[in-house]
Symmetry: D5
Subunit: 113 residues, 10 copies
Amino acid sequence: MGQIETFDNPHPGRDYVIRHVAPEFTSVCPRTGQPDFATIEVEYVADALCVELKSFKLYLQSYRDVGTYYEDVVNRILDDLVESCEPKWIKVTGRFRPRGGIRSVVTAEHGAG
Amino acid sequence: MGQIETFDNPHPGRDYVIRHVAPEFTSVCPRTGQPDFATIEVEYVADALCVELKSFKLYLQSYRDVGTYYEDVVNRILDDLVESCEPKWIKVTGRFRPRGGIRSVVTAEHGAG
Amino acid sequence: MGQIETFDNPHPGRDYVIRHVAPEFTSVCPRTGQPDFATIEVEYVADALCVELKSFKLYLQSYRDVGTYYEDVVNRILDDLVESCEPKWIKVTGRFRPRGGIRSVVTAEHGAG
Amino acid sequence: MGQIETFDNPHPGRDYVIRHVAPEFTSVCPRTGQPDFATIEVEYVADALCVELKSFKLYLQSYRDVGTYYEDVVNRILDDLVESCEPKWIKVTGRFRPRGGIRSVVTAEHGAG
Amino acid sequence: MGQIETFDNPHPGRDYVIRHVAPEFTSVCPRTGQPDFATIEVEYVADALCVELKSFKLYLQSYRDVGTYYEDVVNRILDDLVESCEPKWIKVTGRFRPRGGIRSVVTAEHGAG
Amino acid sequence: MGQIETFDNPHPGRDYVIRHVAPEFTSVCPRTGQPDFATIEVEYVADALCVELKSFKLYLQSYRDVGTYYEDVVNRILDDLVESCEPKWIKVTGRFRPRGGIRSVVTAEHGAG
Amino acid sequence: MGQIETFDNPHPGRDYVIRHVAPEFTSVCPRTGQPDFATIEVEYVADALCVELKSFKLYLQSYRDVGTYYEDVVNRILDDLVESCEPKWIKVTGRFRPRGGIRSVVTAEHGAG
Amino acid sequence: MGQIETFDNPHPGRDYVIRHVAPEFTSVCPRTGQPDFATIEVEYVADALCVELKSFKLYLQSYRDVGTYYEDVVNRILDDLVESCEPKWIKVTGRFRPRGGIRSVVTAEHGAG
Amino acid sequence: MGQIETFDNPHPGRDYVIRHVAPEFTSVCPRTGQPDFATIEVEYVADALCVELKSFKLYLQSYRDVGTYYEDVVNRILDDLVESCEPKWIKVTGRFRPRGGIRSVVTAEHGAG
Amino acid sequence: MGQIETFDNPHPGRDYVIRHVAPEFTSVCPRTGQPDFATIEVEYVADALCVELKSFKLYLQSYRDVGTYYEDVVNRILDDLVESCEPKWIKVTGRFRPRGGIRSVVTAEHGAG
């Protein structure tokens, strides 16, 4: 996976909410080898570090050839964000385009909301 | 009814929410024999097992020739999902297309939200 | 008024929510004699009995020549539903089309939500 | 039926288009006795006379207890408007709410567009 | 297939347009055996006969267990409507829900528009 | 200002919510003399008295030549409604069209919600 | 009425289309004395002169206390614009908010489109 | 590129329109190496052959690692469709997600519309 | 930065909510020198002072040539509003247009909500 | 103004349509010095040359400090595009955000459509 870079939170004395919405996510279904498409949404309260947006874009792009399930994608992105910027609270949502006529949404969070 | 298959929850240590939205549900009205149409939405927090999506699609398709009322459809799907994957919490919603100019929505849940 | 019929709740052991949305309601303004138009929405948790949908449609149609105010329509429908099916909780909403450039919504409920 | 009144076209020297949209139309299905609901839209180029709006509202209300089919409603309204104000061109559209899961639209016009 | 019934055009002296929109169509994919879902829209100018709506609903329902391709469904419905009511002009459109991430629309017409 | 008239609450034994939405409000900016435009929304739980709708329409129209600021309009309407019908709870919202590229919303309430 | 001012067309050698949409128009119904509300839309191809926007805003505001019918408002605005800037082609549309449940649109044009 | 397969047009005696909309297209920008995302829409009148949908899905997927510009993608898809099924008329549209704050649409067609 | 002016709260005895939405905000990215675009939304409960709208518009315009990050913009606007009008509670939200295919929203508040 | 760069049309033998939509345009009102905001849309049929997108973005950004009227902006962009890439046909549309409650759209084209 690409490396998620960070920068110092410019207002560490105040809890405030940052949200990034990335509608251009694609990975590969590990069972069929067919591409999956999703919108990934990240919402967090920073502690000392903020997510650097360009590196996060490249991080998401690095899933392009990765075979992984919906439930796994969202939890892995959450884990990697927690590890890189140690937020006070964070939620990751993946909204996946329909397969077999069924669309799916997976939401995972970490820390006290 | 078709068999709902499961797979091991890849992140059992974290409570997270999975939602599947299936807009292609059809069954038969037991009184008139006419087809009913609905969108079925499932939202749950897995325990040890996740719902396998393809088998769930086939499970929903198996209602195609079944005669059953709105209130019953939603509760039966809920019961079958609870039995197959024993989630920590689950909610099933059926949004039925209008009959006699009236559209109906039935929502049932199981476990602590 | 038409008679609201009921049928036995097929899942009495579980509290679940049933919603019916009827956009074809019309009554008569008692002051001007002009027709009023509304969408009537009913949301309830059944106890032993469920509202039978066809009789409810005919019940709503029986207001067609009745002269009554917005605030009264909604409370009367609520009272008649409570009397006929004795739900654990019920809410009735009437969304009335504009008169004099002002649109109105009246919402009444009964029982513990 | 109610009488459609007219007033003198205030700008008879110019062909211009007048459109009235009435979303509160209701009549009765002659076969089932059940109420039908529609939006009636009238678009016309006046000659010497314009349609007076309040009388047209009352005219439409006079269908409230009339049993008639979709195809007939629209053509009758068109005929009555042609007779009362003799427009250069006129089109009447009825957009009927769904019956049996099917919604219908009927459009008839008179004169050169 | 179900029989499409007709009734006499109540205004045969005027060319006017009738449209019926049926969002509850389902058939079966002949290759996979999986259900397909579509909205069928019919727009026509009647000659001597109009399409009777209830029989048309039943006609559409009779595709429920029929295996047939998108391109074929729309042309067959068009042919059957032409045969039963011989309209001056008619257009049939099928809007099919996505398969493999791709949604399809097929439109066929008959007669001079 | 126009007089807000009232009528007896037809269901005083039950707390229920009445909402009126008036999108045709206009007053005058006291600084520039230019007209302002807003949608005024009133939501309340009646005690003994309900707001009579026609008098409320005329009351709102009486602001047409009044010079007053956004923050003042909403609080004055709230005060006048409290004085005239003494509701258990009431909320007034004014949604003002953009000035200088900025649109504004002011919301005030009175009583326990 | 206010005076519509003009400025020299900066590109007189090319026919191009200018559209102004003013959703804050209000006048008075001459029969009832009640205010009417509309969106006025002007679309034109300038010849030597363009409509100056601030004076046009004030011109529209000058209808605030004028009693006039829908059909007349639109034709008068068209006449005044033709007189002040002599465009090659111009169309004026008034979209009036509902009265008696019916909304109206009046469209008049001048010159070759 | 993947091979676009065809099947015999089931109604070759009638000109009718087939449209396929594929919102899951992705390729690579040849200059930056960054992924591009688009919706590809194909609309055509078949002659003897129709586009087989599953092979067309795989054909579109084969662009996943191809570096190519917007203008080129659309024309290449058009050329490949013309070569494989020789339609009477065909139009291909690519709607590309924003780059640098600018979104782009390219539309090319072949044959007499 | 421009100076945010204030005026005396006309109803200081009541806590009520004022919201201003400004969709025309632009600043400059400090890293790339490229312009950023956002909608800035302010929601607050005044104490003794209200935000004067015209000065706030000019204050927002003064960011036009300022190089600053999303997270910083929102917190600075919040700090400046707190300093100028000392509200009981205030929340500032910036909704930034997409960069690199990702759109961002930052929300900060001050005081007890 | 920035320089609009071009690249060779990759499919010069076919007339096809390219559209670019840029919602982040801002310039300055020459009379008031206040910023204006618009969406600029360009649609053209290339001859030998296509518009290079990044240079066009920078070209549009170069209006940031330029004082110019709506009618002029659109015609200048059109002239500059015609000069740089000599298209067979081109249309430029500017959709400007409201000023004084009135929003404006200016559309100019060049060449045979």
